[in-house]
């Protein structure tokens, strides 16, 4: 029969205690992290919800027929006509405005407004 000496018994007991403490600490930590995880999951979910809602809101508000309707009602703009589109290389063929109608800075600002 092997009988443990007092020293061996002490060491074994010590190991057992250390292991016990470790298990306890791991348990506590896991609890904390699980709570954190639950919080994060909820946060992600609500952010995801907001993204979904905002995305579809944007898509709904920017749908082409609505934009067209609004632009016809509120903007003083017409679709581009053929004569308003000129290729860059034809630009020099446009007659230069004479002094009276020259685009002055004030004139330009007025036009942009």
């Amino acid at each position: 029969m092997i009988v443990f000496s007092a020293r061996t018994s002490f060491v074994l007991t010590l190991i057992t205690v250390i292991l016990g403490v470790c298990v306890y600490l791991v348990g506590i930590q896991q609890d904390i992290r699980q709570k954190e995880l639950a919080r994060l999951t909820a946060e992600i979910q609500s952010t995801q919800d907001s993204i979904m809602v905002l995305q579809s809101d944007w898509a709904y508000l920017s749908r082409p027929d609505r934009i067209l309707h609004l632009s016809q009602r509120l903007l003083d703009l017409e679709p581009l006509a053929k004569h308003q589109i000129i290729p860059a290389d034809k630009l020099d063929s446009i007659t230069t405005p004479d002094a009276d109608t020259a685009i002055t800075e004030a004139n330009l600002i007025w036009r942009i407004e």
Binding site: M1, I2, I15, L19, C22, V23, L25, V26, Q30, R33, Q34, L37, L40, T41, I44, Q45, Q48, D49, M52, V53, Q55, S56, W58, A59, Y60, S62, R63, P64, D65, L68, P79, L80, K82, I85, P87
Partner: protein, 567 residues
Amino acid sequence: MSILSRFIRLVRDMPAAEARRVAANRLGFVRLVAAACFLAVGARVLILAADVNAEAKFYTPTFEQVIRGNIQDRNGQMMATTLPAFELYANPREILDPYEAAAALSSVLTDMSEEQIFSRLTRKSSYSELAWRLSPKKYADVLRLGIAGIHGRRKLVRVYPNAEAAAHLLGGVDKDGKGIAGIEYSKNEDLAAGKDLTLSIDLNIQAILRQELSAQIDLFEAIGGAGIVQDIETGEIIAMVSLPDFDANHFRHASDNQRFNRAATGVYELGSTFKIFNTAIALESGQFQASDVIDVVSPLRVGRFSIRDYHPEKTPLNVAEVLIVSSNKGSARIADRLGAEMQKEYFEQMGFFKAAPLEIPEIGAPLIPSRWGRAEIMTMSYGHGISVTPVHLTSAVATTVGSGMVISPTLIKRTTPNDFDVQLFSPDTSAQIRAMMRRVVSHPRGTANFADIDGYAVAGKTGTSEKTSGNGYNKKANITSFVSVFPAHDPKYVVFAMIDEPKPQKHSFYYATAGWVAAPVGGRIIERIAPMLGVHPVDENSPEIRRSLMLELPELNKEEEAKHVSF
């Protein structure tokens, strides 16, 4: 016992000295096993404490479900997305006063009457659905009523912000969010796994196409219509509309007529638009030149059929003129000389023998004749006796007037260069066809003058055909269509417009042919979409464009000159 005793000798049967030794060994063994178990548990604890990552194996965050992928158009505009909502249900056994509860609920659930709610609250079951998708706000309103026995469950629902636009392509999902039609069905696996999908559709173009077709349908009291805009180079469908349509958010409530996709499911005899292909085959075969003269004057009979022209001609015309004035007789004579084998081979290559390879389940299979006799060849040359979907037509036109390569249509945005590798028509044939189609629109004798939009060099072909009913044709019910490409000298897009059963109107001088119904709407569509698609207006009288669209038209020009002299 006897078997066991053969292997394990009992200690009490041994001599004292040996018994002590054996017992000590056995005890030692038990101790070792116990120590090993203890160490294993201890080691695992130490590993867990040391290795943070090991945690992941024990707890994985689980969301309620994977969010279904979004569907967006080619510019990233959302077409189908997912929203959080609530399913509302009652447990009638927990409801204390169904009268009071129904009265209170009817103030929030406006889709249902108080009686309907009451009947649901008194159902003999522990589950009774009240609403399958309720917005979070309405759900909060219901909760605020504080009625016992009313429960909610969070769920994700599919929404289509553009409602009717592209409803036929998107399709729909069932209550569990599973695709049941359209792209939602055919790409269900990817979407369910959370993958986003980018279509080839441009919602802005789609909206214009829908608006213009819808206006023309109203103007001509037609029963429906269809339209397609397709990229000639890539085969991508930029817009596809079928009218009447439905709100994709209420797929379940749409009628069969609304759900029917006239652009991809419906097969029609598209009439004279097929003359484009007949002429292209004739030129490509080498048997005909554009200037070859065809007899369109003498009567043409095949079997018991007599082939007639809408406008009978008094002089023979050349191949180009046959297409421009849309002579059935001329097309039939050309097809007759080319023969069945050639027509069959080209039609097959152009995809007329099988359903178009679109990414939706609702695609119509063409109806082709079972035998290719002389009468069939001749009538098919002008689009009768063969039924295809509008997608077949636009893809074949893209093939004919584009690079001559066989184009396959798609609803998914193409990101890689196309691998079209079958050269069906030579660039020279394509160029000649483009010049002829341009004259259909620009020449006074052409049938599509209403589509001649200044600056965009529209080239096209009209087609008017009677709808089949029973064994024959219904003279009162026409399919009018106009297929066009622009700009003629370097085509970028195919535009197709079809109006189903237009009625003659006073404003159209009681005409209801394609030239009066479909061509104008085609022109208006091009006028509006060209600047958006980056196609700039050109000077059609510039020498380069004139040269690329040159054509000899002796008879037609003679007629025009004669007309001017007489005035």
